[in-house]
């Protein structure tokens, strides 16, 4: 849940990158980390397994500038994508303000994408979220690889709710900031206000 401190005029938001294993969630965060100046980022935390797979979460705090006089701080998290880390994914979704679903565009990963998306719907519902009301952006990652699913098919299979979607190649940064900007905007527009 976002935290707006009207006294210090600060907004804190939690954005979670969700999706199947090896889909590129951590690569997104790493690219953002590399391209963000030192003054605007905190320490990146990664809790990995021995073979560099996400074990619990990656975390990157971003201190951005001001918007309408409010200093904005985004906390980016990734969930572990591997199927057996369901409990961790549920924990990390707590208090989420916005979601990026990173889908792997390769044909052979379509089933994993669908399974992960269904898991997301289930986990959000379990925690009392209505998925249609959570700001969300879809990212079709790995568009540079051969044997990829056409975007229309990804839209049909995974994006029936018509969330904003971006094609991406997270390894070279294509679509990474576009995705982040879109989810950030949706999150900021979704913050409840009117109180001081």
């Amino acid at each position: 849940m976002s935290f707006v401190n009207y006294h210090t005029k600060e907004i804190n938001c939690k954005i979670v990158y969700y999706g199947p294993g090896l889909g590129g969630k951590t690569t997104n965060i790493q690219y953002i980390y590399q391209k963000t100046s030192t003054n605007n980022k905190g320490q990146m935390i990664t809790l990995n397994t021995e073979n560099e797979r996400t074990l619990f979460f990656d975390f990157l705090p971003l201190d951005l500038g001001e918007i309408r006089g409010f200093k904005t701080r985004f906390h980016l998290y990734t969930v572990p994508g591997q199927v057996f880390y369901e409990a961790s994914r549920k924990l990390i979704l707590r208090g989420v303000d916005g979601l990026v679903f990173v889908a792997d565009s390769q044909v052979e990963r379509m089933e994993a994408n669908i399974e992960s998306y269904q898991g997301l719907e289930r986990n959000l519902a379990e925690q009392g979220y209505d998925i249609s009301k959570v700001p969300m952006v879809m990212q079709w990652n790995k568009r540079d690889l051969p044997n990829i699913v056409p975007v229309e098919d990804l839209q049909f299979q995974l994006n029936k709710r018509k969330f904003p979607a971006f094609e991406a190649v997270a390894t070279n940064g294509k679509g990474v900031f576009e995705t982040l900007k879109m989810v950030s905007k949706s999150v900021l527009l979704n913050i409840k206000g009117g109180l001081e």
Partner: protein, 165 residues
């Protein structure tokens, strides 16, 4: 007397005590938002995120053995004889927070733990009947209930331009 918000109330309790406690003292909200940190630096938000994660994971572990257990009174310690971390939950305004102490090169960790535990007890006493300042209604947006009416793409670009991308 001026009404204080959560952050100010907690700061009022901890600021006078921080010099007497040989540890980094911090308070974090359940979802990993920093409320107070006696050492403000680049690791502040990371500490809060990790504290939230470790607490949630520990609760989930306990839930595996005793799903019906009330976990409100748990504490968490991860320590050696000279360094470690202690976490104590407390409540304010119906929300749960964690008071933490992160320390190293400590000669008497037992004494430190006692000190932090006493601060937690003091906060419990102070906040037991305390309601957080009731928010005042202010007009912030024409869109009913939301902080911002509209944000342009240019504003978002400006926001991210400081990031150097």
């Amino acid at each position: 007397m001026k009404q204080l918000n959560v952050t100010e109330k907690i700061k009022l309790v901890l600021e006078p005590k921080k010099s007497g406690v040989k540890a980094r003292l911090f308070v974090t909200r359940e979802d990993g938002i920093t409320i107070y940190d006696s050492v403000q630096n680049q690791t502040t938000t990371s500490v809060s995120a990790l504290v939230s994660g470790v607490w949630q994971a520990s609760e989930a572990l306990i839930g595996l053995t005793r799903p019906d257990q009330d976990v409100m009174e748990f504490r968490l310690a991860f320590d050696t004889s000279s360094q470690g971390i202690y976490l104590f939950p407390f409540h304010l305004g119906g929300k749960r927070y964690f008071l933490g102490a992160l320390y190293s090169d400590c000669v008497n960790p037992g004494q430190l733990k006692r000190q932090v535990s006493q601060i937690k007890e003091e906060m419990d006493r102070l906040f037991i009947n305390e309601n957080v300042q009731q928010p005042k209604k202010v007009k912030t947006s024409d869109r009913e209930g939301f902080l911002f009416t509209e944000i342009s793409d240019e504003e978002i670009d400006r926001l991210f331009s400081v990031g150097g991308n």
